[in-house]
């Protein structure tokens, strides 16, 4: 019981930090500071997810949100202005739409089972089967790996294809360094052919 109360207090505190960060990011005009604060926000989310026992999701959040996203934001800042232009007027209708959507989402969560409820549908579908039989059926000790690589193998395969297609598309759009080097220096043609 004591541990439960302490755990809830930690989560409430982290939630308060996240709300304060969100409000501050919405107000701040310096985009470099906003990128830093986004990194901190991701770290808090990762902490929250770890406390909820979703350690793999938490680490993805930390690596993507606090790691690569911050560097990508800074890269974008290097190409554009580092200060957000002040809006001429605040649109009241936009705020109303955002608040209404948020309230509807909060209303939607009322239908969900309570946090940690053992009778929730997700604990009675295929999860017990995976936990009990996956070692025998698949032969991999880690249940998460056997779910991702075998039970949902086609799903993972499709996701990998989507990521590869996105990477190829982005590389085609950005052009790569090779073509630009050739434009700058006509002699680089032979080197480019040789190394490729």
């Amino acid at each position: 019981m004591g541990t439960f109360v302490v755990g809830s207090m930690i989560e409430v505190t982290l939630f308060a930090f996240m709300i304060a960060l969100t409000l501050y990011i919405a107000r701040i005009r310096s985009l470099f500071a906003a990128a830093m604060l986004f990194g901190i926000f991701s770290l808090i989310s990762a902490g929250m997810l770890t406390l909820m026992d979703a350690v793999d999701v938490a680490f993805t959040e930390a690596a993507v949100g606090a790691g690569i996203s911050t560097v990508l934001f800074l890269g974008a800042l290097g190409l554009t202005a580092s200060e957000e232009t002040r809006p001429l007027h605040h649109r009241l209708s936009a705020k109303l739409v955002v608040i209404a959507t948020g309230l509807m989402l909060a209303w939607g969560t009322l239908d969900m089972p309570a946090y940690g409820d053992p009778d929730a549908p997700i604990h009675h579908h295929v999860a017990p089967h995976y936990l009990e039989d996956s070692e025998e059926e698949i032969g991999i000790p880690n249940v998460v790996t056997s779910v991702l690589a075998s039970y949902r193998g086609y799903d993972t395969f499709g996701e990998t294809t989507v990521v590869l297609t996105a990477a190829v598309g982005a590389m085609l759009l950005l052009g790569g360094g090779l073509t630009r080097a050739r434009d700058d220096d006509p002699d680089a043609d032979a080197h480019g052919e040789g190394s490729a």
Binding site: F17, A33, G47, T70
Partner: protein, 92 residues
């Protein structure tokens, strides 16, 4: 109230202080330092909450976060100095 709960309280207070520094700024260095500080506090939060809930294996997770925080901070500082990650020349 055991010793880990007290340690957790201390970590949350330190997180709040780092957050205040990130809010107030005023220089880029202050904010980078606040972000790095917060990463360290996340490592400690995960480690202590593992002991708090009786799962000391979470120490391994905390180590991974420490490594990621270090690498991320190197990338961040390199980027703010050289404006790219590949070359040493500035702004090229």
């Amino acid at each position: 109230m055991n010793v880990f709960a007290v340690a957790m309280l201390g970590i949350l207070v330190t997180m709040l202080l780092a957050l205040v520094r990130a809010f107030l700024g005023p220089t880029v260095y202050d904010r980078v330092l606040a972000a790095n500080m917060f990463g360290t506090k996340t490592v400690l939060l995960i480690a202590v909450s593992g002991f708090l809930t009786g799962r000391p294996e979470w120490l391994d997770l905390a180590l991974i976060y420490a490594l990621m925080n270090f690498t991320g901070m190197i990338a961040l500082l390199r980027f703010s100095k050289f404006e790219n990650l590949a070359h040493d020349e500035q702004g090229k």
